[in-house]
């Protein structure tokens, strides 16, 4: 009887422990988003075959509410071992000591796009390993171009020419160029900040010490951006539209040009195969060069991870060129990985060309609030509450307090 009770007690304790969160020794819990699932599973199999003593537990996340969920996990100490995060989030984690430095994992530093590494660098150390990068370009409806007498193979490259083209395309209930004015702040940052960079302006300086958002150059860029709505070239629903909404308008045929990443191409092809899709680079001011924000995803290891060494092994494996090329949905962060077959689709050509112009956003602990203050200003302009200068001055005042 006694041994039976003992055994039951042991079994109960064991199952209790097994039920609790977290891994036991040698197991790596990896959080990856649902769009990676299929490819991640294949890579996990490959990894486990080569490293039988390490077990990988894949947990699928959704992009809805992801930052909140990650923060809760990191902040409370019950975190997985590897997490897929967007580049822009890494700094916040690093500065709050929520993730581990990963300099020892990175090999062949030269093979990486510098901007991608910059994103994950803070205080001289590397806090995330990028595996995926992308930038925006402008997606156009070639049919609309031809109908308006424009040549889609010789697209406008300067701001003035671009605005002219948008005007010509705005007929018959169509909008020439859709900007974003709603949704998540990131949508509008990604689309408007590069224009500011092209003139030498910005929201804050790269060292995070100066407010630039109401400098004459920035104001000129913001005026350029918001004028598309002011002058009726962007749909009347702009204030409620994010990138996805603009894509839907494009698919529905009411928008002829809009800014987005290459991930939209697949959806457009699927939902409206009749559209002849074209891609053109983001226009630059006369005498200037184009610019873009580098987006994408990195791996981080939480400070609270239970098996950091095995986690680093997994990341090192995933960081190999071939595996990166397999996992990414857009482009890999390593130059050598770019040679893979799947990146040779002709429609990706312009996106590839934009990559070298990609820059990281400034690394500042209060970046989220800073970009929110800027976005509020943009919305005030679009609402008609304030003109560009007043709105940007207001944003500048708020941002001053945050630096």
């Amino acid at each position: 009887m006694k041994t039976l009770t003992m055994k039951m007690a042991i079994a109960a304790t064991a199952s209790f422990l097994a039920m609790s969160a977290g891994a036991w020794a040698g197991e790596v819990v990896w959080w990856t988003p649902n769009f990676n699932e299929a490819r991640a599973r294949q890579l996990v199999e490959k990894f486990q075959a080569a490293n039988p003593e390490v077990k990988v537990k894949l947990e699928i996340t959704t992009t809805d509410g992801l930052p909140q969920r990650i923060l809760t996990a990191l902040q409370s100490g019950a975190a997985p071992d590897v997490i897929d995060v967007q580049h822009g989030w890494v700094n916040g984690y690093a500065q709050n000591d929520l993730v581990l430095p990963l300099d020892d994992v990175l090999t062949q530093r030269e093979d990486y796009i510098p901007a991608a590494l910059e994103y994950n660098t803070w205080d001289g150390k590397l806090w995330g390993i990028p595996y995926r990068i992308e930038t925006h370009a402008i997606i156009i409806n070639r049919g609309d171009f031809k109908a308006a007498g424009l040549d889609p193979d010789n697209p406008p490259t300067t701001w003035d020419a671009f605005t002219e083209a948008a005007k010509k395309l705005t007929t018959n209930g169509k909008s020439g160029f859709a900007i974003t004015g709603g949704g998540e702040v990131g949508n509008t940052i990604f689309r408007s900040l590069p224009f500011m960079w092209m003139l030498g302006g910005g929201i804050i300086s790269d060292d995070g010490k100066q407010v630039l958002v109401n400098s004459p150059e920035s104001i000129k860029a913001v005026t350029f951006y918001t004028d598309f709505f002011k002058n009726g070239l962007s749909p009347s629903s702009t204030l409620e539209n994010d990138g996805t909404a603009n894509r839907r308008l494009f698919i529905a045929g009411t928008v002829s040009m809009y800014q987005s990443g290459q991930f939209d191409i697949q959806s457009i092809r699927q939902e409206n195969p009749n559209i002849d899709i074209g891609v053109i680079p983001v226009p630059h001011p006369e005498g200037g060069k184009t610019a873009a924000i580098l987006g994408g995803w990195s791996f981080v290891v939480p400070s609270a991870a239970k098996n950091p060494d095995e986690a680093k092994k997994l990341i090192a494996f995933l960081a190999e060129a071939e595996n990166q090329a397999a996992l990414t949905d857009t482009f890999p962060a390593r130059i050598s990985a770019m040679d893979a077959e799947r990146f040779n689709d002709p429609i990706l050509k312009v996106f590839k060309e934009m990559l070298p112009f990609g820059r990281p956003v400034p690394a500042h602990p209060n970046w989220v609030q800073i970009s929110q203050a800027y976005f509020d200003g943009i919305q005030r302009i679009l609402l008609g509450d304030e003109n560009v200068k007043d709105a940007m001055d207001g944003a500048a005042a708020e941002i001053e307090g945050l630096l």
Binding site: F16, L17, M19, S20, A21, G22, W31, P33, N34, F35, E59, I60, T61, T62, T63, D64, G65, Q68, R69, T72, A73, Q75, S76, G77, A78, P80, T244, R248, L249, I251, A252, G253, T254, F263, D264, Q266, S267, Q270, E271, N272, D329
Partner: protein, 283 residues
């Protein structure tokens, strides 16, 4: 009061008003839901059109097929049932006792305690998530049914107590007094008199607790990361990938998610009807 030889007819709403009211009610309540259902049988192409399409040319069951056979939704459905039933039952039991105490007794500090019950509800969600998560972690309950059941019980308990107290108050205290004179204990009063007479109140509290737990998103998101315990609202969110929200599937999953509760309520109709206190203390 003696019974009359002939009962007067109760004045009611004029029939046309009842019909008009009902029609309006059904329209207002159902239209968005119907729009959801329509969207769930449209193909992606027909979803985003300008102007919107009323009736799909090519209705498809594809979305339901995806939801029911190709996704984790059935598993999440099971999880949601277990968790919702568990937390509702627990909350109900605790609430019944507490509400009886508040409704029938007068003790020092009662108003304060009653208010305290509500205090936790006032804490902003953002302030409560991380500490609750830490508590769950310490108890080893992250990613378990019990962890979520506990959390949802905490969320629904205060308001269940508050509601049930007012329902109990509506039952004449004379009934209790009569039973006590007959030798019943307090507990006996509760079970034999108060509870049977407060079935509509119990039913409505049950519905409240169940629905709140069933639909809750943010706590489930943070506290249940393993698909063995994930709930339906999370499953819904999983149809949003970075490139596209599969609206057809989301709508189909929403329909799947909403039907059980409508059925639950329909089957509880019995409890909502009647519930008269048969003038037991009069006459």
């Amino acid at each position: 009061m003696s019974s009359k030889p002939q009962t007067l007819k109760r004045p009611g709403l004029p029939a046309w008003l009842v019909i008009l009211g009902s029609v309006l009610l059904v329209l207002v309540c159902l239209f968005p839901f119907w729009w959801m259902v329509l969207s769930s049988v449209k193909t992606l192409r027909e979803l985003y059109t300008v102007p919107p399409i009323w009736w799909p040319d090519t209705p498809t069951w594809e979305n339901y097929r995806k939801v029911l056979f190709e996704s984790n939704i059935p598993r999440y459905f099971l999880n949601s049932i277990i968790i919702s039933v568990g937390s509702t039952a627990l909350a109900l039991v605790l609430a019944i006792f507490a509400s009886y105490g508040f409704a029938r007794f007068n003790f020092r500090g009662k108003p304060l305690l009653q208010s305290l019950v509500l205090v936790g509800q006032l804490l902003p969600t953002a302030a409560i998530i991380v500490p609750l998560f830490i508590t769950l972690r310490v108890l080893g309950l992250v990613n378990t049914y019990w962890g979520l059941i506990l959390v949802y019980m905490i969320i629904t308990l205060p308001l269940s107590v508050w509601m049930l107290t007012s329902y109990f108050k509506n039952i004449p205290v004379e009934l209790d007094e009569a039973a006590i004179i007959d030798g019943a204990s307090r507990l006996g009063c509760l079970f034999r008199i108060t509870l049977p007479l407060s079935l509509p109140g119990l039913a409505s509290v049950m519905v409240y607790a169940f629905v709140t737990t069933w639909n809750e998103f943010i706590f489930a998101l943070c506290f249940a990361t393993d698909s063995s315990v994930k709930t339906l609202p999370i499953g819904l969110a999983e149809f949003s990938t970075e490139f596209n929200t599969d609206w057809g599937a989301v709508m189909a999953a929403s329909v799947v998610m909403t039907l059980p509760i409508a059925i639950l309520f329909l089957s509880m109709q019995r409890l909502f009807v009647g519930g008269l206190t048969a003038g037991a203390t009069k006459g």
